[in-house]
């Protein structure tokens, strides 16, 4: 009898803890300033919360049926694998669209930096002449 009370307490703790994690994640997504800040909440907190809720459900049905249940573990594994992939793709899409960033958001990748992209690399600077013609050389060649 005592075992069931302890198991009920464990399941309740897992359910409430998981729901609190999911709530905190969604609250962070609703209230932060910047897309790159908003990405943090759902990817980490909400995934942890849903994992806790599913493990609580797994323990409940395992105790009820007196045999181990694996379906919930399958959903948990799938969510834990797929959450980082979707977050990575969302970050790539946001970088591609050049979304506005708050001042606190640090780092500027070279791929989206226009100043770094506009400088053409000089192939052989030590040979004195470049394979890529400059604009002045091109105009002289066309004049001849």
């Amino acid at each position: 009898m005592t075992l069931y009370v302890i198991l009920e307490a464990v399941i309740s703790l897992l359910l409430i803890g998981g729901a609190t994690f999911a709530f905190i994640g969604s609250m962070g997504m609703a209230s932060m300033q910047d897309f790159f800040m908003r990405l943090h909440g759902p990817t980490k907190a909400t995934t942890t919360g849903i994992g806790c809720i599913l493990i609580g459900s797994m323990i409940y049905f395992g105790v009820l049926d007196r045999k181990p249940v694996v379906q919930e573990l399958l959903i948990t594994l799938f969510l834990f694998i797929s959450a980082p992939v979707s977050a990575h793709l969302l970050g790539k899409a946001a970088l591609h669209l050049k979304l506005e960033r708050a001042e606190k958001t640090q780092g500027s990748p070279a791929e989206i930096d226009d100043d770094a992209n506009s400088i053409k690399p000089e192939p052989y600077p030590e040979h004195g002449r470049t394979l890529v013609l400059t604009r002045k050389e091109l105009e002289e060649k066309q004049r001849q």
Partner: protein, 89 residues
């Protein structure tokens, strides 16, 4: 004890879905809305699992698994569309 925990967690998940709806409606950019939908399907899986605990059935887990797979695939598809302008090239 379990009934009270179920009630509290259902209320918390519902409030989380309300926050997601807020971001879905007022999101300034497209990735914000995709992120809101992504979080919303994860929260709806939690809601379905809690409903299964409430009604004491195991019928709803297949629905939860289906929502997980389709939600992930749709997120990847919309992100691909934003990145490339096309889903299947």
């Amino acid at each position: 004890m379990l009934d009270m925990a179920l009630t509290i967690s259902l209320a918390l998940i519902l409030m989380a879905i309300v926050f997601n709806t807020f971001r879905l409606v007022y999101g300034p950019s497209m990735p914000d809305r995709i992120l809101a939908l992504d979080t919303m399907y994860v929260n709806s899986i939690a809601l379905i699992v809690l409903l299964g605990l409430w009604l004491n059935t195991k019928t709803y887990f297949e629905a939860a698994l289906l929502i997980a797979m389709l939600g992930f695939i749709s997120t990847v598809a919309i992100c691909k569309y934003l990145l490339r302008g096309d889903i299947i090239e």
